[in-house]
């Protein structure tokens, strides 16, 4: 059973997250181990397995990057493939990283950092739009490229957030 089937949903990048969350909650009401505390061992184990499966599926489907990667894997595409990235993109990433490193040195970095994080968030929204177009047109190789870019931005975003915590 794939993660979409767990929720009785078609395989699609477009997903109504509220509806997904509702289905998730409905499923948890049935399978969560708390509902089986006094049940025989076998049922407790079974419930545990199912709850794990439902949690795993939800974790992957609710997040656009994980969802995209998962659809690619369902298509038999190797998402760990390390072929070369487009160099223009890599240079852009290097510049962004340098910019972040410079922020560290500033005396009043807080506003500059907020702006930087906002820019990353806009980029993320943009990439999600691109991904949904690519998936709609079944352009899986292009989508694979986009997920890789997404991962770069995600790491950068995490670093920026942890820098924000350090500053605070």
């Amino acid at each position: 059973m794939n993660h979409f089937e767990v929720f009785n949903l078609p395989v699609s990048f477009e997903i109504d997250t509220d509806n997904l969350a509702q289905r998730y909650r409905d499923l948890q009401r049935v399978v969560h181990p708390d509902k089986y505390v006094n049940a025989p061992d076998r049922e407790r184990r079974l419930a545990m397995q199912k709850a794990v499966q439902v949690n795993e599926a939800f974790q992957i489907l609710k997040n656009p990057l994980n969802r995209g990667l998962y659809i690619l894997q369902l298509q038999g595409i190797d998402t760990n493939d390390n072929s070369a990235m487009d160099s223009e993109f890599l240079i852009e990433q290097m510049d962004l990283r340098e910019e972040l490193a410079d922020l560290r040195e500033k005396t009043q970095p807080f506003n500059a950092l907020s702006n930087f994080i906002n820019r990353l968030e806009k980029n993320k929204t943009f990439l999600i739009d691109i991904l949904s177009q690519q998936f709609a047109q079944k352009e899986y190789q292009l989508a694979l490229e986009s997920t890789k870019k997404f991962q770069f931005f995600k790491r950068l975003h995490e670093e920026a957030l942890s820098l924000e915590e350090d500053f605070f």
Binding site: R25, V30, H32, D34, K35, V37, N38, L46, Q59
Partner: protein, 622 residues
Amino acid sequence: MALLQISEPGQSAAPHQHRIAAGIDLGTTNSLVASIRSGLAETLPDIEGHHLLPSIVHYAKDEPAIVGNAAKQFANTDPLNTIASVKRLMGRGLKDVKTTGTRLPYDFIENEGQGMPMIRTAAGDKSPVQVSADILNALKKRAEETLDGELSGVVITVPAYFDDAQRQATKDAATLAGLNVLRLLNEPTAAAVAYGLDKGAEGIYAIYDLGGGTFDISILRLHHGIFEVMATAGNSALGGDDIDRSIAQWIMQEANIADDAEHHHIRQLLDVARTAKETLTTQDIAPIQLEGHIKWQGELTHAQLNQLIDPLIHKTITPCRRAMHDAGLTVEHIKEIVMVGGATRMPRVREKVGDFFKRSPHTDIDPDKVVAIGAAIQADILAGNKPDDEMLLLDVIPLSLGLETMGGLSEKIIPRNTTIPVAKAQEFTTFKDGQTAMLLHIVQGERELVLDCRSLARFELRGIPKMVSGSARIRVTFQVDADGLLSVSATEETTGVHSEIIVKPSYGLQDGDIERMLKDSLEHAKYDIAARTLREQQVEADSVINALRAAIQADGHYLLKHQEFLKINAALNDLLKIKEGTDVKAIKKAIEHLDNLTQSYAERRMDSAIHRAVKGQHVDEL
């Protein structure tokens, strides 16, 4: 009994017997026990009407441990035998305790960092688990006397930010106290349950929980009885105690008291500091007067107090930011902030938290009792007293779990804030030709270097067939159950060599320790173990029989085949006869037999229930 939940309402065949259950808040400073009485969740007072039991234990030679207010009286006169704030030591090694900057005035036994720190007392050497078990025992006694019966199960709360070692230590303490733990529940989640059910809350809530020795922030989504933890963060060594300590240090400075003052002087100073802090909750100035050995007179103002505690409060805001990030939210999404824990009574704490979340926090519930009350509500449901209740708690692990890889780095297997229960597998390989064993080192924490994470356990996978480096495939599976406790198993995939452990904390008890301690304990030596085992098997048999009957009545007619039904029925009748006897092994065997026969039926039932759930239909609509 759980099969009842997916049978039609009104068809529950098994008559339910009310089980006595309780919620326990095992706190750093105070502990409480609560239960549902006449439909209302309330904390249980002792004979003198005190609800809070100070988490203090006094040990004297050849006498039973004294717990609570009676023990508190010895704090100044006999500090080395009077153990307070033991929660700070749970699941910790002596080195941790020293490096967290926590100065605890006890006589620790130096044991080269091996195992748990032991405290030398007049009643012998005590581990933190034993001290906690004594506190739990006092609460158990109080509950059983008040509720007039044996406790069938308890829910014990732990800080959300407790790691696996601290959780395991807490569970071990409960086992030692002879308690059946239905669930370890995170304190902020418990508070959310009490608060949410009381106010009929819906939406996203932040629970800010500053207790005596721990700090937690949890972000929860409340939706039709489901409490979904979106993120949690905190600091398991930060609390009201630290505030007292910084006030005490200030007094020491002002009064020219040397840093190496004796144990009982420090204790006294901490008491004076706490009183001053509490006075400032309602007054503008707190007069301070030291008497006895050192005489000094002064006063603590709000301005001075703020200067002392602002750095500590600031330390709680950083986790708040992290939790918001992890939940993918901004403060505008938060509907309300609920304050929990005695330290949130301080006006400065409320002010600073209000500043961060841009709205004033809720303070209309008793921050001391709310956690125990939430635990009691869940205990009642888990005990099976409310089979139709809609409430469900979806909690997360607070800290990432990982494995040590080459170069002392931690490879994260399960990231923090993943909803539990969860299982994740990852493949590793050998790095030397002909390597036949592999050491797995399990760590918890966010840092890159293993050295900066908490070491949970090490275990060895042996018998890997000799292969060229990189060709073995070792699959390591991490599983975290609904208590937040980890078990790890490893298999070499090409040959199926299997190794499995339930993680035991590096600083915790070793296998067999609990058994030994149980034997040592007088109360349990008298207990008739054989009678207990028989009763447990009979209860288990009843539970299997009742669940199966209810299931067959609900859906046996379309999920069972004729032949299958006859076989199951015969086995069920056998079990009915055998369980009336006293042969424990035979009962166990009969249960297993029935269990095997119904395996595929149970799976079909689960699938059918899941099918209905995703179709969005309820049973009564079919």
